[in-house]
């Protein structure tokens, strides 16, 4: 009989026979999980990395699903985590861990509240009014928005069909219902060079070989021929375009460092750092659940011309705040790149640049098909970018 496991957040860990529970007078319930990760269920590298992710759990809101003790399934906030590593130089690597979880509730009585914050419209130079949008997990129901939602667009991704709610009120924190297992569907995931999905933000990462995906957009670093390979999932398949990131007309090439600034189900931000002879460059890449574009924020310590452009030229048409491929490509898509602030469009190659700048914000995505549905047109995507809120999730009693 295989060892039963627990899905603790995005990690699958071994389920121990015993789970300590404690209840207090206020109705609080504390669960103490223990476990042990080791070879051969995991490789030595995987054990080491899972160790990192477990220890970064405290403070996180996580769904927990038990294979055996499924009566304990629910939503929890990780209060603390600890562990002991035993390493016999790959022959024997064992990580014994313990985590204390505060129960937020079960799917029966708990809503997921997405606290959306930030101004409705980010500062922009094109008099664009942003649109507040939000995509919950694929498996969700009872989406409550104080009756402000005006419409929704459904997007078929690699993980299934995601639903992006549009026109949400600027002061509304939507609530929705899901199961512990369903909470993870359609999530944004960061997979390291070993193919392991990482769930913490304190891990030591390789600058190459990783993958960032939300099922609709996928980002991978390139070793040559550009900086990022950005793929769009349309028509049931991934379609890749290589994008270059340049400073003063010179590609930054392969970045030197990689770290996760933010790693949650609803959004992941990866920061790449390029060490220059003098100074540094940050490339922040953010992907959010249910969105059809990746957000890029490029910072340079010293002012220079910053540019994001297709590695292979594809003619585009410059519009207000964005450049869109003029005609459909072979995959029946049109690339889309834009920024909230003023820029110089490169319609010949398909890109944008900003001279004498220390920062350049951009969003890169695709317009799927010749007749995109409402909510997927270029102007819609632009409004979604300008109105993109920050999201903080917690469980609230229904």
């Amino acid at each position: 009989m295989p060892t039963p496991t627990i899905l603790l957040g995005r990690m699958r860990v071994r389920e121990d026979l015993t789970v300590a529970e404690q209840a207090d007078a206020d109705g609080g319930r504390t669960l103490t999980l223990t476990g042990q990760e080791s070879i051969p269920r995991l490789t030595a590298a995987a054990v080491a990395r899972q160790r990192e992710d477990i220890l970064t759990l405290p403070g996180s809101f996580v769904p927990v699903s038990f294979q055996v003790k499924n009566y304990l399934d629910g939503f929890y906030e990780v209060d603390s985590a600890s562990g002991t590593v035993e390493d016999w130089d790959d022959d024997l690597v064992v990580f014994r861990w313990s985590a204390s979880l505060l129960r937020a509730g079960t799917e029966a009585d708990t809503d997921i509240e997405s606290r959306l914050s930030g101004s409705l419209t980010r500062v922009n130079d094109f008099t664009i009014t942003g649109e507040r949008t939000h995509a919950p997990a694929i498996t969700h129901g009872g989406y409550w928005s104080d009756a402000t939602v005006t419409s929704a667009v459904q997007r078929v991704g690699e993980d299934g069909t995601l639903k992006l709610y549009r026109g949400i009120g600027s002061t509304v924190n939507p609530r929705w219902s899901t199961t512990a297992a369903g909470y993870a569907t359609g999530r944004v995931r960061f997979t390291d060079e070993l193919g392991l999905e990482r769930s913490g933000d304190g891990a030591w990462l390789q600058p190459t070989g990783w993958t960032l995906s939300n099922g609709l957009v996928r980002v991978q670093p390139l070793l040559s021929g550009g900086v990022l390979a950005i793929a769009a999932y349309t028509g049931g398949a991934w379609h890749v375009k290589n994008w270059d990131v340049l400073g003063s007309s010179t590609t930054f090439g392969v970045f030197d460092r990689c770290q996760l600034l933010h790693n949650q189900y609803e959004a992941v931000t990866v920061r790449m750092m390029k060490m220059l002879t003098t100074g540094r460059v940050y490339l922040d890449i953010t992907l959010r659940r249910g969105h059809r574009f990746v957000e890029i924020y490029l910072q340079s310590e010293f002012s220079q011309t910053l540019k994001v452009v297709l590695a292979s030229a594809e003619g585009g048409t410059a519009g207000s705040g964005m450049v869109v491929r003029t005609t459909l490509d072979a995959d029946n898509n049109k690339y889309l790149i834009g920024s909230a602030r003023s820029f110089t469009a490169d319609a010949v190659n398909g890109g944008i640049s900003k001279s004498s700048a220390t920062a350049l914000d951009a969003f890169v995505g695709v317009v799927a098909g010749s007749s995109p549905v409402t909510g997927d047109a270029a102007a819609d995507l632009q409004k979604q970018y300008v109105g993109m809120p920050n999201e903080l999730v917690q469980g609230v009693r229904r």
Partner: protein
Amino acid sequence: MAVTETLRALGSWGVTFKKGMPESTWKELEYFGHIAVHVGRRPSSLDDSLLRSARYVGPIDTISDHSGVRSIGGVGMAMWLGDADGKGDVFSDPLVLNSDFATAVTAALPPSGAVTAGTITNTGDNFTGTFQFQNSREIIDYICQTVGEAGWRVNGDATLDAGPESALWRTTPRCLVVHKSVGRAIAGFDDMWLQALAGNAETDRDVKDYTTGVLLLGQGINGQFVAAEAETPEIEIPFKDLHGNPVRRTRIVQESETSTDNAPARAQLQLNRFKSTRDALSLDTSNYDVKGTVQVGDYLWAYDPIMGLMDNANEQQFRGQRINPFKLRLTETTWPITRRMSVFYRNMIGEWFDLSRYVVPESGETTLVVGGYNRSLSEGGSGSFPVSPPPDTSVPDKVDWVEPFQLSVYQSPATGVARSEAILKWIEPTNVGGSSILDGSHYEIRYRRATIPDYPVTMDMINNLGLTNDQLTLTGATYAHMIFLGETEWQTAIAPFDTTVFRLQELTPSMPYEAQIRAVDLANPSNRGEWSDLALFTTTRDNIPPATPAPPFIASNPLFVQMTHMLGVSSGGDFNLDRDLHHLELHGGVEPLFTPTDDTLLGKALANYGSMIGQIPVVQTFSQANTGYVYYKVIAVDEAGNKSLPSQAVVQQVGLIDDQYISNLTASKITAGTMDASVIVGGRIATMQDFDFPGVELNAAGISGWTTTGFRALHWDSTTGKLHVNGDGGIEIKDGALLVRNAAGNVIIELGECFDGRHGLQVYKDDGTRVLRAGELASSGGDGIEVLNDGGQLVRISALAFGMQAQTLTGIAATNLNTYNGNTPTCTVEIGNTGRAMVSFSCWILPGVDGGGFIRAASASFQASGPGGASIAAADAQALSADGGNQGIGRSYLCTGLTPGTWTFSMAYKAQGTGWSNSQFYNRHIAVQPF
């Protein structure tokens, strides 16, 4: 005990020493010495440079020893401006400021010199205000708050920096403080341009001090209160009460130092402080030395979206997230003195001691307070003494008059005219409700001419006014009703509160008046009682007679008496009678002591103040038929009809009628030998009596002159204005023309505008035939002269050619060319419209000799140049020629078709052949006659 630094306040610090501290070192520590906390180990030199380089400097105000545990403590350097109790170098005399910011702050520094000026930057604002009984910290803080967005700080070396916030602190945040709930993604990490402080951040928001309006009470001059209000517009109030009304919370702030000028700004300033929620973050961080990142007074970003501590007006990109943080100010820090720091002591004579090894190092976290403010500072109020709101809400009651008023008339010293006065009396009132008035300020009296007389107009008054019944009817009066006067404006007088009598002067005599009074107290704003009932009174008429005038000067004849009076009084002087003088009466009697009566009145002469101002004597002639001795007296009468006593009498006897007494004369015959009148008016003035031949006569028809034979040879017609000279021939000047006629009456000469309408001169023969016309030859112009002979032949010069010119040169002209050359002699003439000129020229010619020794020919011709490039070339056709010998020859040549204008003619010469000996030309002469 740690170090606490607080914006705009003193802060505090404390150091505890280890046991085993040398007694000698402990004894060195003195009150008002200073400690300096330095990050790191001891610097290379221990001197006063530490005062600026140390993280913190503060004076000692506490030295304690509790059971062997010794410690010292104190406050920040701001203490030297004034401590928390207001103690300091207090300005006991008023400090009056009216200058730019830097000058005002500098003037407010402690007179003792405890703090000197450091870098004080002008804000561009001017500050006006007066301070007394306050220390420098309170004054400088007040100035900075009042001018807005300005601040101050005392440096470690006891110098003061002041100026705009941007000059003292970082106003563009480089630091971010977030609540821990935002997540680890932000808290505790840096980005390219922002540093997020790590630690436990707590958000503190409340509306305990939330204010929608401020009523500021200041202390003005002379004990007056100054009040100013600032209100938040209702639409900007986000909170509502249970009934849905906007929340109203008015804060009363007392500031004794606030003047009237500053009160509105101060009220708005206080409102700005409290019109929002109190938003603060406190952060405990393990970073013991944050001063390199942020220091008290700097602005930083604070962000807690869960608590709503966010501002959509600010957008920052931080670690992959777009955030909208609040911009707040670091108001307080508390940090431990750790083992990584050094502590030094400076005594009052400038000696330094290193205390580091004796200090008990502290652990713990650094606490930052962002955006909060010290509630003790926000209770409202400042200054040296409290301001109380106006206590007096009592209102004086209505005043009652004491009638009737005492009325009188006087002669105004200002104008000299008679004026009336009324002494008004009233009873001192109480407050409404019966309480005594303790804060009475004054009485306000208003009065005006009454519209309703207090008694009807009498017939006597009408007679005095000299009005007719019709005139009275126009005023709206009837025989049975009073005359209503026009309404006038209220006049106001002020009487002190400690009196109940007021003398109202400069009133018009004989005029009805009405008056009201009310009491005013010292409340601010003043409480004014109700106006009293109207009091009606009529001023006394003018009953003061003029002074006795001086006696008049009298001249008389059997018909008239003439009075001259210099308008002086009997006691002496001229033009000094009363100003309300209206006229003089002249009385005549037969004995010197007569009493003037209506029977003795000879007449009245107008005499008033204008005569006296202009120093114009009164001269008036009266009828007088008495030829004996007569005594004369004068009485002055004023505008009210009051009469003076009569003057002393003067006596005068009738004499001949002098010239000056003849104003009109009609006589049948005047036989005087000489008439020197400048004007004589008569129907006819003639030199002879004969009406048919009057000689020279001036009458209405004009001026005529007759010959002795009775022929009128000269006549100027006053009707036509023509002058006729008649007789054997004559001259007539009529409209624009002078005509000379012969004996037959025919016109011989017309000059001027002639009969045919032309202007000029026309001459006729006796038979009237015109022989000459000069001037206009035709009515449409064409000036010239034309002469007509008996044969009817006309010679007309319609365009004149002017001047004949000539030049002679005796000198030689020579040439050996066979083309004309040379251009002397020359003359210039004006060619008229005829285009004609006669050219005469001559010379002696000595022809040249050819190569074979033969004398050949030579020629002289003329050439000319005219206007517009017109010219005549020298040519043989118009030449003189000598062939084979010397000759003196000349000729004339008629030139026609010349362009009118200035022409220059000159002679030219040539030989028969070129290269031979010169041909010579002497005595050359040219003359040109245009015609």
